[in-house]
């Protein structure tokens, strides 16, 4: 190989390297129609594992929250009331706390206890897997484990819309 060919190959190699450096690592966010990612997280009190597969056959609302997120804290009592209203035969809520210091979450929960299972993810692995883009974000999953509704943010009036979606999925 002469030096000209060598230079051409060297240039090609460098261009390929540049492509891989600049190629963005696309985050595969979970969206409507996707199967919910399988996960197992420790419960916030550390006593057991929490997995969405434990609730296959039920409509599940997976909610990412943190104690420093005011809309998250507003949503909690409303979610608990919704769960009590609909009942847990066909519906469950799985909340995933992403506080880096889980004690902050426990402090909030000691003042505002709820009945649904809460998992902890202080390293923030699961929100990355789900592709969470805002806090709070909730994923409504049907009885077969398919994501049917993704909702970022929480405002007054969201509970009514969510209730309609949940009842539709329970009826299917």
């Amino acid at each position: 190989m002469n030096s000209r060919q060598h230079n051409k190959f060297a240039l090609l190699g460098k261009l390929i390297l540049m492509v891989f450096i600049f190629l963005p690592l696309s985050a595969s966010a979970v969206s409507v129609g996707d199967t919910v990612p399988s996960f197992k997280a420790r419960s916030i009190d550390g006593s057991k594992n929490v997995s969405v597969e434990d609730y296959r056959g039920k409509v599940v609302l997976v909610d990412f929250w943190a104690s420093w997120c005011p809309p998250c804290l507003k949503s909690f009592p409303k979610y608990d009331a919704l769960r009590n209203e609909i009942g847990t035969t066909d519906f469950e809520i799985v909340a995933i706390n992403v506080d880096e210091n889980t004690d902050d979450a426990k402090k909030f929960l000691s003042k505002h206890p709820v009945g649904f299972p809460i998992a902890k993810d202080p390293k923030g692995v699961l929100p990355g897997v789900f592709g969470v883009k805002a806090m709070p974000t909730s994923y409504l999953i049907d009885k077969n484990g398919v994501v049917k509704y993704v909702h970022a943010a929480f405002k007054e009036g969201d509970i009514e819309k969510l209730k309609v979606e949940i009842e539709k999925l329970i009826a299917q």
């Binding site: 230079n7 060297a10 240039l11 460098k14 390297l17 540049m18 450096i21 990412f64 943190a66 420093w68 997120c69 005011p70 809309p71 998250c72 992403v98 506080d99 880096e100 210091n101 902050d104 923030g124 929100p127 990355g128 969470v132 883009k133 805002a134 806090m135 709070p136 974000t137 970022a152 943010a153 929480f154």
Partner: protein
């Protein structure tokens, strides 16, 4: 070609060593603390903006993204 290789190498080193990074939405716990807010007292901040507007006849040019919990 040597010059191109050197420029390329310098570019790559620069790109690999810059320190900007984004904060994921679930990592904003520290940014959400009151002491991290650009203006910890919103009322005082508005009062100051009004004073600047009145005295200087100018508006805007304050505040920046980055602080707060970024919640919706």
């Amino acid at each position: 070609m040597k010059i191109f290789s050197r420029i390329f190498a310098i570019l790559i080193i620069c790109l690999l060593t810059f320190s900007c990074s984004s904060v994921s939405p679930w990592e904003r716990g520290i940014l959400a603390k009151p002491e991290m807010a650009w203006e910890p007292d919103p009322l005082m901040g508005q009062l100051q903006e009004h004073v600047y507007f009145s005295k200087e006849g100018s508006a805007g040019g304050y505040g920046a993204g980055g602080g707060g919990c970024g919640c919706n």
